[in-house]
Amino acid sequence: MVLNMTEGPVKKPVNGNGCCRTSNGVKPGMNGCVKNHLYQQHSYCSSDEKSSHICHNGGIYKRPFKESFEETPMLVAVLTYMGYGILTLFGYLRDFLREWKIEKCHNATEREEQKDFVPLYQDFENFYTRNLYMRIRDSWNRPICSVPGAKFDILERVSYDYNWTFKYTGRIVNDVINMGSYNYLGFAENSGVCADAAAEMTLKYGVGVCSTRREIGNLDKHEELEKLVAKFLGVEASMAFGMGFATNSMNIPALVGKGCLILSDELNHASLVLGARLSGATIRVFKHNNMQSLEKLLKDAIVHGQPRTHRPWKKILILVEGIYSMEGSIVHLPDIIALKKKYKAYLYLDEAHSIGALGPTGRGVVEYFGLDPRDVDIMMGTFTKSFGAAGGYIGGTKELVDYLRTHSHSAVYATSMSPPVVEQIITSMKCIMGEDGTTLGQERVQQLAENTRYFRRKLQEMGFIIYGNDDSPVVPMMLYMPAKIGAFGREMLKRNIGVVVVGFPATPIIESRARFCVSAAHTKEMLDTALNVINEVGDLLQLKYSRHRLVPLLDRPFDETTYEENED
């Protein structure tokens, strides 16, 4: 095998392609390689803070799996709690003023005549919304007036009563670099092959279908789409639904019911949680991506059975996601498949963010690990992220899909997908697979992988705390303090970069973050501009909390004189 040592940060080999290996299976020139060759099997490199680990479990991981979740610095945690404490005190003060009518109350209250009835608006539950969220509300729900590609236009808003109401100034902010859309492969565009095909389909079929799949809304385009999705994933058959959220929440109840057990990851998406609760099965939660916790739960389930009767469970279903969008972590799929086979459970994999974004040809997290798609019982995904359309799919064996066609609520009651959307998915999927005769799809997948590695590497070098796996295009950057959430969003917009900031309740209370989504549509210049601005704002707001300084990658061959890459 040729050893290619001169890898710069942008020219890295793509996921799984042309991976260079030394004789003991370790990739040279990558992070933490010096520590690696001392450990062989089942090792988790633990630094003092347990911040990053590399799995080499006896060879089921064919490439280094590096993820890091650096611990919150103690001082930052204390200051964050102090900030929230001050905001809570002022929240109580403002509520008191509102209660005693010293100040005008902007949020919803009941009318005078209804004061003696059962209260409609639970006042205390909305404490957080009224007093914390409202103050920095201008970072969310920003109205976009162009296609959300690599750059977009925003309508400028201004508020004179501290974000309770907004007025539009009439000005449009042009060419804001988009670091927030789930546009991983850049298919959100209003010109090009996909858009033309979708427009043609609108002229042929119209836009509305006006019926459900069971009744008279089953177009030949839907059948074509389902065959194409099955071919793309490598499964026997698949079924497409009009809405990604509804795919999860309406199909899990069709698959499991009372007397079944659902083992779901701690940080699963709301659609999975809703579907699990609607099904009526028993739900047990295992720690995020923690295989020991999952194995313990599986063992307990098999040994003890159902809670009071100790009968065996009818079905055990493991619910995981491919990429968790708030953490940027990738599921430990080889471990889960090994566990599933050992304990005879079923696996439901939600590839909403990972389909099209991982793997050498964009087939998702199964291809990223080099596993067999038939090992995953139910492969679910959405078309919203990488394909630039809307909707979701479920793929699996033919029996499963035939069963879902008759028993799923979404298939029976929901209106089917709109024809231009179907055409957009078909065209973009053919482009990714290379069936339209060009290499555009493959180029985009590789561009996304390069952009991801480059962006993450640069941010870590600058000194920010970045969560997640090195290959995931979702990049969460920690902000921690509540005032910095609002300040970051506003300062970035002032400098023409649009970002998504997330706080409680989507994340734990002190771990608020800014979430960047890298796209194949971003050129290197755009990424460099964005990185310079993030560096500037990071210095202004003092966001560089990381205590691990990464040495910039070497451009000389790796040998014994190479020092540790992580300086602590």
């Binding site: 200051l79 102090m82 900030g83 929230y84 001050i86 905001l87 002022f90 003060l93 914390l132 103050r135 920095i136 501290y162 303090m481 509540p482 005032a483 910095k484 609002g486 300040a487 202004l540 707001l541 003092q542």
Partner: protein, 63 residues
Amino acid sequence: MGLRSAWKQMSWLYYQYLLITALYMLEPWERTVFNSLLISVAGMAVYTGYVFMPQHIMAILHY
């Protein structure tokens, strides 16, 4: 010129103070309330220290 850079530095430090204590998110009158409370408590602490420090030091030396 030295004065302007000192002013910029003070302004940046005040901005950091606003961010850390989350006063950045509060309205101007709330900031005034908090700042005056903080300054009055700090002032009282300094005054108490100034008044009682000689007595405390004498007590410690006496032991």
